[in-house]
Each structure stands twice: as structure tokens, then as C-alpha cells.
Amino acid sequence: MRDAVAELVRDGDTVAIEGFTHLICFAAGHEIIRQRKRDLTLCRLTPDVIYDQMVGAGVASKLVFSWLGNPGVGSLHAIRRRIERSDPEPLEVEEYSHFGMVCRYVAGASNLPFFPIRSYFESDLPQANPRIVPVKSPFGDGSVYAVPPLHPDVAVIHAQRADPAGDTQIWGLLGCQKEAAFAADRVMVVCEELVDESVIRRDPNRTVVPGLIVDAVVVEPKACHPSYAQGYYDRDNRFYLEWDTVARDPATFHAWLREWVFGLESHAEYVEKLGAERWAELAPGEAWSDPVNYGRYA
């Protein structure tokens, strides 16, 4: 993780750590904080607690997003301090809706100059963000809105499993990881398990991202805590609730960073520090899919 972040994430980069609730790679965010990257533009549909940590830690100068909150809990206080009070410094924002953000990734992945979408009519969002503009249908049947492509310098994608070449499989919520990865210049895959290529090849329909576009594969189990990995560990709702208190006060916020990020060398230490008991609480039971037959055609 340390090498991958050092090599792939550069000061001033546009970075997307995607994953909708599911598979949010907190460990990558922590490593970016630990390496004191600067001036990043952070993109995500939902700047979750991880972006609150990163923005509060000072690695970012701009946020591109569609829903700003601690899901199921409330606010992201470190981000709000910067937006509402420039405390300790201003934070530029560029704001869309969920579908607008998704379509930006699709346009980026598809090398399209814009993507049409039936949103934003009569909303104030296009006034707040001049990059949301109307576009006329060339068939004379009215207008829709257009959003511009998003091409992150780096996309960080977490997955249940990948092979050494970076061929990556995900199940459960898919969010827009595939689109973000194809839209990005550089792709970092973090996985719960490194598997042999043959595991991937036994179920090619489950592959979300091919190694072809992947620049680094990092094996980092439990890297999504307090988010989750379907079938591997549960969402740690307690952490999300507690974060509300931690982030409300800059003092407790920075104490948390010192204890859980700067005070640790790696995510392995974070996992250990969290403790076996907490991990036991987050262990899911089993619910297996059935195998399907692809057939041997020789």
C-alpha cells in the first residue's frame, strides 16, 4: 500500500476512491493522509467518513461530489467546517447529483465530451455549477442537461478478490467502480484476497475491472473498515455513529488521526489495534451462491 500510494498518487492529483457504501477503501485514504499528500481534488458520489478524514487532515483543496454526509448518521463535520467557516482553510466544491456524477464517470470511461441526463430542470444546481448545461436533442424533441466527463488521475477500487495481473471481481453493491476505473488514468486495486488467475477465469462474468487497466494491486484485508466487504465483514455502524462525536471538535478529530493514522505504520496495525473482539462482531454468516456451468468447448 505504501509503495502504491507513493507511486500512483501525486500532489495536485484528481483522486477518486469510489464505492457506494460498500468497498470504500479507507486504508488507501489513511495512507494518503500518512504520506501527507497535498492539494488533491477528491471525487466521490458520497464523501463518506473517509473524505471527512482526508479533508480534515488537509490533503485536499477541492471536493467533487453529489451527497455530503455521514450516511444514516448526519453531517461530516470536518468538511462542513471548511465549507461553512473556511476553518482552517477554504474548500472548493463542485457539486452534481448522484446520476450526474455516475454519468460523468461513464462519459470519462467512454471518451465522450458530454453525457445527456434528464435531471436539473428548474433546479438551482446548474446556476451553482456552470459545468451543468442544457443540450438540445438533435432530433428536435426538446432539451436535456449535459454533464462533462470526469477523468480522475487516479481511481482507487477495493474488491473482494483480484489476481496478480489485476483482474478484479466484485459482488454485492457495484456502485460506479467500473466506470471510475475505466475513466481514470491510473488505477489502484486493493483486494481482500489475492487469488490465482484460474479463479477469475472460472467466472469471467464476475470480473468488473480487467488487469489491462490496473497499475497496482495491493492485498490489504479489511481495508474498508468501517465500510464493509460483502461476505467478508459487516459495516461497523458503531464507528459511523462515534465519528459524529469525534469529528465535531477539531481537537478530538486530530487526536483520532494521530492515534489511528499517524500513529500506525500500516493498515495491518490498524486491524490489530481494532481488536479481535470488534472483528468478531463484524463477521457475517455464510450465504453462498450456486456454481454455474460455463461448459467445456474443446
Binding site: 457506494f20 457504501t21 460498500h22 458520489l45 458520497t46 461530489f65 453529489s66 451527497w67 455530503l68 454526509g69 450516511p71 444514516g72 468538511i79 462542513r80 465549507i83 461553512e84 457539486e95 452534481y96 447529483s97 448522484h98 446520476f99 455516475v102 454519468c103 461513464v106 441526463i117 434528464r118 435531471s119 436539473y120 430542470f121 428548474e122 433546479s123 438551482d124 444546481l125 446556476q127 451553482a128 426538446g142 459482488w171 454485492g172 453493491l173 457495484l174 456502485g175 460506479c176 467500473k178 466506470e179 464493509y228 460483502q230 459487516d234 459495516r235 455502524n237 459511523y240 457475517p284 450465504a287
Partner: protein, 263 residues
Amino acid sequence: MVGPGQLRSIRLTRTAYSSSEMMIVVSARQLAGERVCFVGVGPPNIACNLAKMTVSPDLELVYESGVFGSVPARLPLSIGDPTLVTGSVQVTSMFELFAYYLQGGLIDVGFLGASQIDRYGNINTTVIGDYAAPMVRLPGSGGACEIAINAKKVFVIMPQSKRSFVDRIDFITSPGHLGGARPAEWGAGPSVVVTGLGVYRFGAATGEMELASLHPGVTLEEVRDSTGWELRVSEDLEETAPPSELELRLIREELDPRGAYTR
């Protein structure tokens, strides 16, 4: 008494209920006859599941996180809770969910919350104050803007007070009935607003909110004191039927046994 616009609850007797429970029960009843509902987490989720158990057994739930046909084994605490996935009918990318389900016109009812709403059902969830220098930075649209435009109907659940029911909202995140009319190719827009005080509908010709029913114990005066404009009141103003024993039992024992959203 539960104060206007507040979600705090109070239990007087066995059949007393919280303001949230009232809102959930009323919302669930509105789902009678509806087929496909785009649902967020929290009170709308409980309302939808209550509707499935009571007035609308065939209701299909679509979660914005990309799940269709969930059978959650516990109360999901986020829109993307893993319990929504296991055992569901389909998990799809967010692109396909928003493009094919929502924009494609399959959603009958979308639920929205609101920090501010005006008489035409235009909704603000973006900022209080000026956009460039907000007093309060709210979450923003999420999927709300596209739900407001593309769902066939929109149900709003929100607390009511003079700060939320305002003459002029600070920012239009999600368009309602605009100045009174919506383009034909959109969905029909907000059809019901449920608050802690009453139920509101929209005049077919005017697109303006009308008080349709008062919750038990709430007075018209209280409602007017909690509304930032001259409120229209339906000629057929009713009293909302209180939650039934069954509705309360289902909420308290099955849907939210820990009272995460309902106490």
C-alpha cells in the same frame, strides 16, 4: 404534546405513539395501490416495509444503491447495508439503476426528505443561506433531483416548522410544481407531504399545497404557526386516523425493534 416539527417522541399510554410513528404510518397508507417504490433509508424504508405488510403486499422496493427485491434480515442502517443485498433479486450498477429504473420510468413513487419546502413542493436539501457562503451546508441532492423529475409521484416526509415550511426556499435542489405547473414529460411531482402535524396534497390546477388532514390533537392554528406562507386548507379537511394497534406492533416488534428511527 409533541411540538411542531419535532421528531422527539413521548409515550403516554400503551396506544400513544411518537411523531415519527405517525409519519411512518401515514406514509405507508399512502402506498396503497402503488407498485414500485424508490426508497431511501430511515423512515421511508420503514414506511415501505410497513405498507408491504399491510396495504400494499405487492410493493416492490428499489434502493438507490442498486438493489431490487431486497428481503432485509434486519433493519438496514444505511442505504447500502449488506443485508439489503443478500437474498435480493437483482444487484445492478448505479448507472443502470438510475438510467433504466428511474430515468427509464419504472418508479411509481419516490420518497424525498427536505430541509425546506415551499408551497409548490420545491425542495431544498443543499444549503441554508447563500450557496457560495452557506450558513449551513446540507447534504445536497444525492439522487433527489432526478427522483423529483423522473418518479411518477413523489412523497415527501419531513418535520414541519416555520424554518422548514418557508415562503421562499434558499436553493431549489429538487423541483416540485415550480410556479404551479410541470412539463408533461416529467413525472407528476410531489403528491403528498407528510409532517408531524398533518398530511398535505397539491391542488390539481394550482400545484399548491393544501392541508388535507390534521393529525389527532393538532390544531389548525398550530399548523398555521408552523407554515411560512398563507396556507390553503382543503374544504374536506379530515383528522388523520391514528396508528392502529397492528401498525404500531409491526413497527415496534418487527421493523424497528430498537427504535432507531421511531423513538
